[in-house]
Amino acid sequence: MNISVTQPRPAIGNQVVSIIQLIQRINESQDDEDIIDISRIRFVYPLFSLALSCIKYQGEYLGKRIVYNRSNNIDCSSYFDAIHFPDGLTAGDSEGFNLNYYHNRSYLPIIRFPALKDRVSSGIRDIILSEILSKIRERLNLNMEYVNAIFYLISELTDNIVEHSGQSIGFINAQFYPTSGHMDITIIDNGMTILGTYVQKRVMEIDNDIRAITEAVNGRSTKDRADERGYGLITSRNMITQGLGGRFMLYSGNGLLLDNNLISLPSRWNGTILALKIPYNIQNFSYIAYV
């Protein structure tokens, strides 16, 4: 089936609608292979571009092969190449990783990081996240409170993928908007949903995605050890929405949390999408108050 993708508007809600509609059309298709036609896309915001790139992994859950058609897209072709769409930029265990190409750009590419817990994967992940942080810091000339906050957010939220998704890879990208003074960061995995993690840990009273998201953002840990805290999501969300006046979106399974609103969606994301809208250079912000 040929599935033509149209350009979503920039608001997070519009991008979510585009993602839902895309998943629905793939679900409706009876074909073994679907072609995602992105030739009419002129610009992609990071939430939609990262979700679009991960659709091929979502197709695997349906036993489908997903391919992309961007022929004749002269306007956006070089941009898609620059953001390494759809596979993402990554680092091997023997080669370095740098984002020097993006020094003066208003975006970071799709970056694929290892999500396994072994020493090599952890080391590569640390290098990748370190380089992302350095580039954001340089590009936006952030003060140390912000640098600490950004490191806190990307480390906690990617660590959730490492600890809970059951996947070997995760994805992150970013876009900067100097005129409006904010940045968008999107983090995605295509593995176990938040509900799936509770179910795996036999927390049986949590039986739907909305309940699972509610428990997770209220700090209920799925971890086995009583002394471990499930505060990554709650602190990150508080920091963004309360401390920085930004926006926090979480889409996991059929559940969506957008700002303070929970909605059960008609389309399922196998895994979790996090979209963060972070204003920068807010005065008198102290990240440690939210940790």
Binding site: R9, A11, I12, G13, N14, V16, V17, I20, L116, K117, D118, R119, S121, S122, G123, R125, D126, I127, L129, S130, L133, M144, N148, F151, Y152, I154, S155, E156, T158, D159, V162, E163, I210, T214, V217, N218, G219, D227, E228, R229, Y231, G232, I234, T235, R237, N238, T241, Q242, L257, L258, D259, N260, N261, L262, I263, S264, L265, P266, I288, V291
Partner: protein
């Protein structure tokens, strides 16, 4: 025997990163120094994991301590050691819709 564990990075982003430095055998070890003097950023999860690891060593009568120089890492370590309860400041609203179209209409406004 005293051993020194020194991560070779200046940023540690995950629990798994910290755990990966402790996969070796610690038989015949009676003191472990975790040298974080070159670490300038560490995630809350990682510093929390480190505190658990140190407690585990101490419960086995192995002396363990972390050397930290970064002020930010010291500050974060202190906050984690307080083990304070976090509360969700934002009350969640469950929105119910009759149809997919109604969901779209709402999402297109936010």
């Amino acid at each position: 025997m005293t051993i020194i564990i020194k991560p070779d990075v200046d940023k540690i982003s995950s629990r798994a990163s910290i755990r990966s430095y402790f996969v070796q055998s610690f038989s015949n070890v009676d003191k472990i120094i975790i040298d974080l003097s070159s670490v300038v950023f560490i995630s809350r999860s990682a510093i929390h994991e480190l505190s658990i690891i140190i407690d585990e060593f101490r419960s086995k009568n192995i002396e363990a301590e972390a050397e930290i120089r970064s002020k930010e890492v010291i500050k974060l370590s202190h906050v984690v050691s307080l083990n304070k309860r976090m509360t969700n400041h934002n009350k969640l609203n469950l929105r119910r819709y009759r149809s997919t179209e109604d969901i779209y209409k709402y999402l297109e406004t936010v």
